[in-house]
């Protein structure tokens, strides 16, 4: 009979079974590999060298010791760790290790340590990438080469090595050669592999990658109009709001400074989307990106909603997704405008106060020109909550408070030529198109402030340009 066993010295169970391996060596053909030290086990006179882990990888070893029975060159059965009955079953030798405990679990194989399977697949498997390999001379700095080639948003990028790409791809079940869609403005088909390269460069961890892919899927929906958003003269860029269990799972920030810097997932998911548009789609500032000023959110703009209050209806549920699903909602947004209200103590006053501030979106005398996100801080939300208001009441209350007599904002009113059509002077005017105000909860405690994220002026064509939501896959 022929056996293959893989062990490592750094495993007490392997050390314990060393005498058993010596016995097995005497009565059969034993091919013994050690992952860390070829002088181990001493009882067998050492082992063959598998410090490269090639044999461990080829045999899909997850636990050491692993005992594999080989008949006619093929594996017929195996056992992991030490389970005497199972070793007896595999070897057919009843007297094996009789003085040992009945059972002792094995240890993790070095071939399955974090990041190692991808490294081994690249080295020994047939994993390969379609994207062009760029060789960086030993004397050059990869980060500088990325700048020279125009691959960055102005900040440094992580060079996309094969190992990093392989690890990123391990974050999704989607195949590397799957085409996600055509990335504007050049409408270039983007594979999952290309997206992974850009996610690496943006600084994503593999577990963020499904969120990046969902964001790409979302912006490619025709109703989102990513091409127009890129090309616009206005300030806007894609804003990603993440809902559901994934936010906590990957450590996103929905609390203090949620719209700011400092959280890797928030920072790199939004950046990955922008790098894909830049690098794959060819969307670059002062080229097809015609924005006159842009906004800092065009580096990255991604945050999670605070879903910690069980009474609060999260944004994705309000938009028709099932409870417990993870989603991205994509908005065409500008920068952040703060709103202070430290005196309102009842929901009605606060709703009127926030409505006042919301009228400034785009221009205080323009209506239904752009949508907006209202990011409600915990302290402002507490006033609504204590007054018995939930999402529905807050939305309705602010909507009502936003109505304004047309004559106040028509062209010329107040000595300002900008304004709405004079024909609407006698109407009560809504600030936003229906569905054009998203209320989202985020932020830390300690300030009676909330935030407005103004929207794209193309929202005035609300059939052409829509906010979209997308479930996050695997």
């Amino acid at each position: 009979m022929e056996y293959l066993v893989i062990v490592k010295r750094d495993c007490e169970t392997c050390q314990m079974v060393a005498p058993v391996l010596a016995d097995l060596q005497n009565v059969s053909t034993l091919t013994l590999y050690s992952q860390d030290d070829t002088t181990f086990p001493e009882a067998t006179g050492g082992a063959l060298d598998d410090t490269s882990l090639e044999e461990s990888w080829r045999h899909n070893v997850e636990i050491v010791p692993t005992l594999i029975r080989i008949e006619n060159g093929r594996e017929t059965t195996r056992t992991e760790g030490w389970d005497r009955a199972d070793w007896v079953r595999v070897t057919g030798i009843n007297a094996l290790g009789e003085n040992l405990p009945v059972f002792r679990p094995g240890c993790g194989s070095k071939s399955v340590e974090p990041g190692m399977p991808e490294r081994l697949a690249l080295k020994f498997g047939n994993m390969h990438f379609e994207s062009r390999a760029i060789e960086v001379d030993e004397m050059d700095d990869p980060a500088e080469v990325a700048y020279d080639r125009g691959w960055t948003d102005g900040l440094p990028v992580i060079p996309a090595t094969d190992l990093r790409i392989a690890r990123m791809l391990a974050g999704t079940t989607r195949k590397p050669d799957e085409i996600i869609g055509d990335i504007p403005p050049n409408l270039i088909p983007c594979t999952v592999e290309k997206a992974a390269i850009n996610a690496v460069m943006a600084g994503c961890r593999p577990e963020y990658f499904p969120v990046v892919l969902a964001a790409v899927d979302a912006v490619l929906k025709p109703e989102f109009s990513m091409h127009g958003l890129l090309a616009t003269l206005w300030f806007s860029g894609p804003v990603i709001i993440v809902n559901g269990p994934v936010a906590k799972r990957i450590g996103m920030n929905s609390q203090g400074n949620a719209l700011g810097q400092g959280n890797r997932a928030n920072a790199t998911i939004g950046r990955a989307l922008q790098l894909i548009i830049r690098n794959v789609g060819g969307g670059r500032p002062q080229e097809i990106d015609r924005s006159i000023l842009g906004n800092p959110g065009k580096y990255t703009f991604c945050f999670a909603e605070d879903e910690s209050d069980p009474d609060w209806v999260p944004l994705n549920l309000a938009r028709g997704h099932a409870a417990g699903t993870s989603t991205v909602t994509l908005f065409h947004g500008d920068g952040v405008q703060g709103v202070a209200d430290q005196k309102s103590r009842d929901p009605e006053s606060l709703a009127r106060s926030l409505a006042l501030a919301l009228w400034s979106v785009c221009h205080p005398k323009l209506a239904q020109w752009s949508h907006a996100i209202l990011v409600l801080s915990p302290d402002h939300y507490a006033i609504f909550r204590e007054g018995g208001w939930g999402r529905a009441e807050i939305e309705a209350g602010i909507w009502q408070a936003l109505k304004r007599p047309g004559h106040e904002i028509v062209e010329g009113a107040g000595g300002v030529e900008e304004g709405i059509d004079p024909a609407r002077a006698d109407e009560m005017i809504d600030k936003f198109h229906p569905g054009g105000l998203l209320v989202v909860r985020a932020g830390g405690v300690g300030g009676l402030f909330s935030a407005i994220i103004g929207g794209w002026t193309a929202h005035r064509r609300n059939e052409d340009v829509q906010i979209v939501s997308q479930e996050i896959g695997t």
Binding site: E135, D137, W151, A160, G228, N279, V280, G282
Partner: protein, 95 residues
């Protein structure tokens, strides 16, 4: 074989744009059909009305076209119709 040095993968479409020759502008417009493409932004039509008036005043043949929305690229059908029917096109107006 892995070369010496450091390898990284290209994040771009790897389709550097082919340099395209510009069409030579017509020496004069006599007999030419001129297309005016409105991008459907506010006041596009107003601007193009004025251009049309100036061109027809010079005895030129003018055809009008329109994109459905300025937020998206012109549909292929609009582009093809312009190519089919016009010699020259003026596109406007973005604010």
């Amino acid at each position: 074989m892995i070369p010496k040095g450091y390898l990284m993968r290209d994040p771009t479409a790897e389709t550097a744009a082919v340099q395209r020759e510009r069409l030579t502008p017509p020496a004069d417009l006599s007999g030419a059909t001129i297309g005016l493409l409105s991008i459907s932004k506010e006041r596009s039509a107003e601007f193009l009305d004025y251009v049309e008036e100036r061109l027809t005043g010079r005895g030129l043949n003018v055809l009008r076209f329109e994109k459905p929305t300025h937020t998206k690229p012109a549909p292929e059908s609009v582009l093809q119709e312009i190519i089919e029917r016009c010699d020259v096109v003026v596109e406007g107006l973005a604010d």
